[in-house]
């Protein structure tokens, strides 16, 4: 193989890897954020979001087998600047767990921060509940500073929270990579 031919093949391979890694995997799960907003409630910044979850067969299988799945909600606030990069004002993390309770045949959604548990008869109902995110406190209003602020919100399946033997497989298997990507909006308030 000549050097040019090798270079062409390598370029083609790198392009393929780049394109396939940028695309959401067709066989993996998906989280779609339909709406996200910020509000001031009792002098606290809170966020609401509506999301739909579509877990992969692997994830559903694991859930049915009693393995709890952890969904992480990340909120990132930054101040937009024209020429320089945007400085981050705040980063908040909140996680929820969804698990199957075999004895009651119920799906339990737990807020890992407050410990609140909600019980649902089916996975769809549990996921619908998980997707209805309301009144998640982020920070005190006084910490926000001057507007405008850029908001970014993301929901993803936390692979590190899986049982040890499953982690390496989850990292290399596209079926486990489930993330909504960053949902962004700006508030002038």
């Amino acid at each position: 193989m000549t050097r040019d031919a090798f270079a062409r093949r390598l370029t083609r391979l790198l392009l393929t890897v780049a394109v396939t890694s940028a695309m959401p995997p067709a066989w993996g799960g998906d989280i779609h954020i339909g709406m996200a907003r910020d509000r001031i409630h009792n002098e606290m910044l809170v966020v609401d979001a509506d999301a739909t979850f579509e877990f992969s067969a692997d994830a559903v299988d694991a859930l049915d087998s009693g393995i709890p799945l952890t969904i992480t909600l990340e909120v990132r606030l930054s101040r937009p600047r024209r020429y320089l990069w945007d400085p981050e004002v705040l980063y908040a993390l909140r996680s929820y767990a969804i698990e199957h309770h075999a004895l009651s045949k119920q799906f339990v959604v737990t807020d890992n921060v407050t410990g609140n548990r909600r019980v649902h008869a089916t996975l769809d109902l549990a996921l619908a509940d998980l997707g209805r995110i309301r009144d998640v406190p982020i920070t005190d209003r006084s910490n926000l500073g001057e507007p405008p602020l850029d908001y970014a919100l993301r929901l993803r399946l936390d692979l590190k929270a899986l049982p040890g033997p499953l982690i390496p497989i989850a990292y290399v298997s596209p079926g486990w990579r489930t993330s909504s990507g960053w949902y962004r909006w700006q508030t002038q308030r």
Binding site: S104, G164, P168, Y171
Partner: protein
């Protein structure tokens, strides 16, 4: 630490040991992580990556070492093959058992994991779960009946209106304020207490909270899910288990309350499970959940354990290979050093000293090698000293000495030999002597003389060789002796040359001086009395005798006197030949001498044409002009005497310079058109008493040869191709004289 090599080695060993220790630690951590996923689960991936990276680093190190070994093998470096053998041996020794252990461990591991899962255990857990459900179902059915009875009771009575709206509780935009419904001696409170429920809530048809009672006094009641509410609104009661908190189960019941007015309300109650039943149910649930999780993770566990075990195997193999490489190199290092030391020794380096890095057998071997090298070096110095001593001794000898090896190649040649044979000082050492002699013209006679003795490998032989070099004719006495040696096929020769030219000349001169002395004494002395007696006889008796007798007497005495004169002349010639006159050397122009002699003879013999072709600018030579004139005189006289008496008589005298026997000479050629010299005389024509003339003394040419040789020259006489003979005299140019003449000429310019 003084030794940099040792320092580098310790550093490399330390680095590899550190890397190996890190890898081992990571593997142990990974193994722990496999057992306690809660604690190390998050580290597992990092450890896996770390171990893989470490293994890659070690593998890279090995690859570099193997590449270096391959390069050494290709270059056939000493010790490389031994390193390879040791490496293969060590690797086989380490890898085979580990691989066998790995295969069996993997099998045991898989069997062990599989043994956790038994169909009977599976069924037992399913049955336990089902049993739990059944046990709870009985209680749940009672609670449903009880709740429906209470719903009927409520339907028959008049409930108080609630002040809270259920939708307001669910709406995130609204502010939920603590319930304004105050428990009191109300119906709901009594019902809750009577039924043993933890919480009891009454909802309106529109979902509004009509009334609520809680044992635990929570502000916000545990609301049922929207799906439950929809089901109840459709007229179907709901009952289910709710794991509302860890390890605590509740029975949630929601039933429709059908009033007489037709308005539908919903009674919702949460009942606690008895603590013992709750504990048992939680235990069954926990066991089932763990078993289900393990069953799901079975393949993953196998894979993870296999990966861990494989990493351990790879780590073992890689470490073993590296250790094998290191050990093999360490073991082969002294042998490599010895090989390179031997090569250096073969190349003549006796100063090399190998480093002794251990005190074991190899260390002893290296020490012995160093000792041997030192001894050889000392012996070589001794031999060199002896050789120089021998060379000095040989150079002081007046005899020429040439040592030959068994192939007759020159090994040693002293200065005297170089001078005698007129050779280049060192060019011929290593060459075959016969070839050297054949290449150099004046040494051809030497080659002819040496060849038989060398070819026949004679023990002792002696030859007398005449060569004509730049210094003229040389008579060399050459003696050859075979050198004794232990092996017969490796014998050499030593040749010793002695220049006996002067000795022979001296002997000849002495012999002829003796002849002359005897002639003078025995012949010349009686001649005068004979002559005088003949003259007196003639004077006394010539007048007394008659004419006839007188004439006879006169003729006879005349003959006696004439013959006595002839005898005197012969004796004088001998006397001249035998004399060893002192050479009066001076710069001589040969052309001048020739012109003088030719002019003299041309005057005396006008009928003979003597042609002179003398080279203009002929270099002068160093010699005795009178004796050289005698040479030319004799030769031209001989040519005239040999020439026919006809008008065709022609003598040609030529001078030129020529290069002969590696030296410049002046050449004189004297040619005649006579009858030439008889072939049988040609061989000895220069010996005394050899002549073709009826009246010759036979000393003319002998005298010529003697004078020419006194001038270190050569004279030859041969017949011409056409007619007549040619005499050729070659006289060497005096180099110092020539140089001084050149200097004078340059200064004159």
């Amino acid at each position: 630490m003084a030794n940099p090599a040792l320092k580098t080695r310790i550093t490399a060993l330390g680095a590899v040991a550190l890397l190996s220790a890190s890898l081992l630690g990571s593997l142990i951590l990974m193994s722990v992580a496999m057992q306690d996923s809660a604690r190390f689960g998050a580290l597992y991936s990092i450890l896996l990556l770390t171990n893989s990276a470490g293994l890659l680093a070690l593998a890279g190190l090995i690859a570099i070492n193997l590449r270096r070994l391959r390069r050494q093998l290709r270059a056939r470096e000493p010790g490389s093959r031994l390193t390879l053998r040791l490496l293969v041996f060590f690797v086989a020794l380490a890898v085979l058992p580990v691989t066998v252990l790995y295969i069996f461990s993997l099998d045991f591991l898989k069997r062990g994991i599989d043994s956790w899962f038994d169909v009977r255990v599976d069924r037992a857990l399913e049955a336990a779960l089902e049993l739990g459900r059944e046990a709870l179902d009985l209680r749940m059915r009672d609670l449903l009946t009880q709740t429906e009875a209470m719903a009927d009771e409520i339907a028959q009575g008049t409930p108080e209106r609630a002040v809270l709206n259920l939708d307001a509780l669910r709406d995130p935009d609204s502010i939920v304020v603590a319930s304004a419904w105050t428990p009191g001696p109300a119906l709901l409170d009594s019902m809750r207490e009577r039924s043993g429920a933890d919480e009891m809530t009454l909802f309106g048809d529109d979902g509004s909270l009509l009334a609520s009672s809680s044992r635990i006094s929570e502000l916000i009641p545990h609301l049922p899910a929207a799906a439950v509410m929809i089901q109840v609104r459709q007229g179907r009661s709901y009952i289910g288990l709710d794991p509302l908190s860890d390890g605590k189960l509740f029975v949630r019941v929601a039933v429709p309350v059908r009033g007489e007015s037709g308005a539908r309300r919903i009674l919702h109650a949460l009942y606690p499970i008895a603590p013992r039943l709750n504990r048992l149910a939680d235990s069954v649930e926990d066991a089932y959940a763990r078993y289900a999780e393990l069953a799901y993770l079975r393949d993953k566990l196998k894979l993870s354990f296999t990966m861990t075990l494989t990493l351990v195997l790879l780590f073992s193999i890689v470490t073993a290979v590296w250790a094998a490489l290191y050990s093999a190199r360490r073991l082969a290092a002294p042998i490599r050093d010895l090989a390179s030391g031997t090569a250096a020794l073969a190349a003549g380096d006796y100063t090399m000293s190998l480093p002794v890095q251990s005190t074991d057998d190899l260390g002893f071997l290296v020490s012995s090698f160093n000792d041997m090298t030192r001894r050889i070096g000392a012996a070589r110095i001794e031999v060199e000293t002896q050789r120089r001593y021998l060379e000095t001794l040989l150079s002081q000898l007046s005899s020429g000495v040439i040592a030959l090896d068994d192939d007759a190649r020159v090994t040693i040649m002293n200065d005297s030999a170089i001078r005698m044979l007129e050779l280049a000082p060192t060019l011929h050492v290593g060459s075959a002597l016969a070839d050297v002699c054949r290449e150099i013209e004046h040494l051809h006679p030497l080659a002819d003389a040496l060849t038989p003795g060398l070819a026949e490998r004679r023990e002792q032989w002696q030859e007398q060789v005449v060569i004509f070099g730049s210094n003229g004719r040389r008579v060399l006495l050459c003696r050859g002796s075979a050198l004794s040696a232990r092996r017969h096929d490796a014998r050499g020769y030593v040749l010793v040359f002695d220049d006996i030219t002067a000795i022979i000349q001296g002997q000849r001169d002495a012999a002829w001086s003796e002849v002359a002395r005897r002639l003078a004494h025995e012949i010349k002395n009686p001649l005068t009395p004979i002559q005088l007696a003949s003259e007196r006889l003639r004077q006394k008796y010539l007048r007394r005798l008659g004419a006839e007798e007188g004439e006879a007497l006169d003729r006879l005495t005349g003959t006696i006197i004439q013959q006595v004169d002839t005898l005197k002349a012969i004796v004088n010639t001998f006397s001249d030949y035998a004399k060893t006159p002192v050479m009066t050397r001076a710069s001589v122009d040969i052309n001048d001498i020739l012109n003088g002699v030719i002019e003299l003879f041309q005057g005396a013999h006008p009928d003979i044409r003597i042609e002179a072709r003398l080279m203009a600018g002929l270099p002068a030579i160093s010699g005795d002009a009178a004796r050289l004139r005698q040479v030319v005189n004799n030769l031209i006289k001989n040519a005239i005497e040999a020439s026919p008496t006809s008008a065709n008589a022609h003598i040609m005298v030529t001078t030129s310079t020529t290069h002969y026997a590696q030296a410049d000479h002046v050449e004189i050629r004297i040619e005649d058109r006579g009858e030439g010299i008889a072939e049988d005389l040609l061989q000895n024509v220069f010996e005394p008493y050899v002549t073709s003339k009826a009246r010759g003394t036979g000393l003319g040419l002998a005298l010529v040869k003697k004078i020419v040789e006194e001038h270190n020259g050569v004279v030859t006489l041969r017949n011409n191709q056409g007619a007549g003979a040619v005499a050729i005299i070659r006289l060497p140019l005096d180099r110092e004289l020539e140089q001084s003449e050149n200097q004078v000429a340059r200064e004159a310019r």
